[in-house]
Amino acid sequence: MKVDALFEWMATGSRCGWAAYQHAQDNWFAAIMIGLIVTAVLVNIFRARAGKQLYIRRIPGLDAIDEAIGRSTELGRPVTMITGLTAFGVVAVQALTIFKYITKQIARFATPMRLLTGDPTVFAVAQEAISDAYNEAGRPDLYDPDNVRFLSDRQFAFASGVAGLIQRERVAANFMFGEFFAESLIFAETGNMVGAIQIAGTVSFTQVPFFVAACDYTIIGDEFYATSAYLSREPVLLGSLVGQDIAKFLFALTAVTGVIASSIVGTKHPFIKLLGQPGGWSEFVNFLLGGK
């Protein structure tokens, strides 16, 4: 009986309807756009690998990373790196790539560091990434697993843990990269109170105003994904960045076309539906074939 109850409990999570899933067939235009973006990214990655020189504009917040590390080294106080509650995924991988770069710089000067995370999967990967960073910097002796900490996966328990650590250790530089929620201001204001240089980068656009208000430098929106390319200047990443710019141009072109077309033919026209509504593709094809 108990075993049956356990299986019943385990099975509950896997029962899910699939009508809510989105598919390319809902509107092939969206699938074509995804195909174009992927092609643009891949073509530019291979162009960059082939030796094509690509330009990337200056991002002041990222230039300030070395300055912040230098200040921590001079003061002999730790650097904190916070991933927030970011679950393991592309955002976390990007955040850890940035933190790996920062750790390599830190390792050169033997500056103390703390990486704080609220997601256990990110914690496991972060331990490996930070250990790799010390190895690559030629200072494996400086790596202490206790410096990479999982505090709690509860939002405000994590927030109080981070705020307490920042206060107790009087950190000199605070880097926040990842996905943040209401706790963002608690981190940023606590860092501000102890006089830390703060650089934040997030994909959570609702938290950007808080970071802008409380941090010295803020990396906004897709600059977050440009960070690793900017810091490492690796051809794959630079090529990917150019592909992203082409993709943005495609989106802008679609938006402008949509605005002009809807002003002329109205929002109910099949062409407008094609640009962004489920079923828009079939309606547009019917329209082209002479149907209504």
Partner: protein, 303 residues
Amino acid sequence: MEAIIPHLIAQNIWQLPEANRTVYATLVVLGAFVLVLGLIPVLQALPPRGRRAIVVTVTFLAGLLFAAEFFLPVDWRAIFPKDDPTRNFLTPAIQPAQNVLQTIGALALGLGTYGLVRLHLRNVVQRRTQWGYSVVLLIAFLTMATFSIANTLAERQLLKLEGTPQRVLERGFTILFDYTLVQLDAAMFSLIAFYIFSAAYRAFRIRSIEASILMFTAMVVMIGVVPLGAYISYQLLGLPQGPAPEGAGLGTQILHSIDLPDIANWILFTLNAPAQRAIEFGVGIGGLAMAIRLWLSLERGVT
């Protein structure tokens, strides 16, 4: 063969059959354990290049499942008239694949907890600075974990308690969870209000033209979305309320649109919303590019 095709196109090819489900589930769990335990020594024995090849292949196949599921047509009724037109044959595999991710996450939770407990035990044993906080954490951790696990097991009927032990468990859990943890969360959350004041003070200090524009815009929005904005516009200034009547002159139309609530809404939905959407587009494209690099193992940051 005839029976296999309808089964393949049926909805449950990725789920265990109802009959003897317990036996099948046990076999699947044991099989997974054997596979994982067998895989660890194989991976350790391989040279780094071979290990990377396995990781690259598994990553590519896992990504391919989600990509193929999205791009494959869902309506196969032209070939299989009785097929469900709301999904293709890969759709039922998506949830089990996500369950695998959850399982990996659950294993990592153990790892994270182990790291946390190890750090604080070391603090206590070595009498490091402020080791008293570590004692508090360890006691809180043990107490909360005991009551929480026991309570979950009791709720799922996996632990039978009656009389005093049951009352102690229920009362203890309520005190720890509802009266302590939730209240502490609320206290932390309420601190944000004070932090907003200090952050807003610094942001709104008029130091440059940009800061002045920010300050002015923020004031208009803040006053416009609260009743004070309506009071100033309609009672004090006597501006007309609501949209201008059909065929009204330009002057009337302007008077109907310069009240503070309308201006605040215009700033929020005509200026602010498109800027936020533009940021979202950029973030989405950046995420997609990153996902492609990870899927094709072109990303060398932490992978």
